[in-house]
Symmetry: C2
Subunit: 226 residues, 2 copies
Amino acid sequence: MTPKLYSFWRSSAAFRVRIALNLKDIDYEIIPVHLGKNGGEQLSDAYSNKNPNCLVPLYESNEIRIHQSLAIIEYLEEIQPEPALLPKSPIDRAWVRSIAMDISSDIHPINNVRVLRYLTKKLGISSEAKDGWYAHWIQMGLVSLEKQLSSCPRVGKFAYGNHPGLIEVCLVPQLFNALSAKVDVSPHRTLMRIFHECMQLPEFMNASWENQIDAEGLNPVAPLQK
Amino acid sequence: MTPKLYSFWRSSAAFRVRIALNLKDIDYEIIPVHLGKNGGEQLSDAYSNKNPNCLVPLYESNEIRIHQSLAIIEYLEEIQPEPALLPKSPIDRAWVRSIAMDISSDIHPINNVRVLRYLTKKLGISSEAKDGWYAHWIQMGLVSLEKQLSSCPRVGKFAYGNHPGLIEVCLVPQLFNALSAKVDVSPHRTLMRIFHECMQLPEFMNASWENQIDAEGLNPVAPLQK
C-alpha cells in the first residue's frame, strides 16, 4: 500500500517530510488536513483518533502511524538508509541534528498556528504585534543558524557537504515562512545560498507550497521564483 | 577529560541530558549557566561563542561541542549504546522519538524563559495571563501524552517496557515544570505512575532540580517528595 502523508500545504513540519520522502524517492499519497477550515480539521475526531497530538504531519503505512516530522524522517532513514539524510559519524550526525532541531524545536513551535491563535484570540494581541512576534523568533533563529553555518568547514554546496540532507529538509520550509512573512533574509547569505541550491532540485520544488494539491491562491513566495 | 555539561538547574532541556548521562553512567562536570542573572548568562559572549543558539544545555567533550538536548542524547546513544534509551526496531524507535518530541518540540519551547519574557516585557502580558499561557500548553500536551500512553500496549513499568528511556528523559523534567506551576496532573494517571517510578531511581533523583550545584532556595517541587 502506498504510504499516506496527512499534510497541509503551508505546514513546515509536513513540508519537511514531503522533502524527505522525495529525496528518498518513496512514493506517497497526500491526504490534506486543513488547519483553518471547520475550526481546524486537525482537531476533528477522525484525525485526532489517528494522531492525538492534533498536528500535521502524520505518516501512515499499513498498520504503522508516526507523527512528529523528525521522528518520521529518522524512521525513513532507518528503513531506507540511502540516499542518506544524516552523515555517518556520530559527531557529524549530532551536528546535523542539532542544527535541524534549532529549527524544529526552537524556531518553528513558537510560531505554530495554534500559538498565534492563542496570542490573538486569548491574549487579545493585535495583528501587528502578532506579526512582530512571528518575525522576531524567525530572525533570532536565522541569526544563530547563519552564525553556525557561515564559518563551518562542514558546509559545502549544501549545509553538510555536497548533498542535501536533514538540515535542508528543515531549513527550506523555515525560509519559506521567513520570506512569506517578509523577514529580512539578506544578512543570511549562507542560508540563502543553500536555499537557492535546494530550490533548483525537483525534490524540494515538488514538496513546496504551490505544488501541493491543497495549495490555495497564488504562489505565496512568488518573489523567490525569479 | 571529563565531559562538561553547561546546565541550569531548572532547565528542562539540561535536566534531560543530566538524566541521560546518569542512566548511561557517564561521568560529567556541571558548568552552571544562570538563565536569569546578568541579563542571562547564556547571552554572554563567552557562552554564545561556544553555543550560538544561546540556550542550555551544551555538551563539551575534548574538541566536541553539541547543543540541543535530543541531539546530545542521540549522540550518547550512538557512542555508548548500552543501557539503551531507544528500542531496537525502527517502528518502536519512531514511537518513542515521537512521544519525546511531543514534549521537546510541542510543549517545552512555547514555555521557554525567553518566550515568557517576550510575553511580559514586549507584549505587556500580565503575570497572571503569562501563568495561564504556561499552564495551557503544558496541560494540552499532557492530555495528548496521557491519551497516547494510557492505552498503549508498549507501556509497562515505564513508557516503553520495563526500563526508563528517552520518553522518561523528556517526561520527568516536563512534569517538574507542570507540578511547579500547579498544573492539575491528577487526570494523567499513566504519566504520574511512570513519574513516581522514575523518582525512585538515583539517576533521576540526582539529575533533579534540588540536587544541582546551582539549585536556588527550597525544593521547588517539595509536594512531590512524599
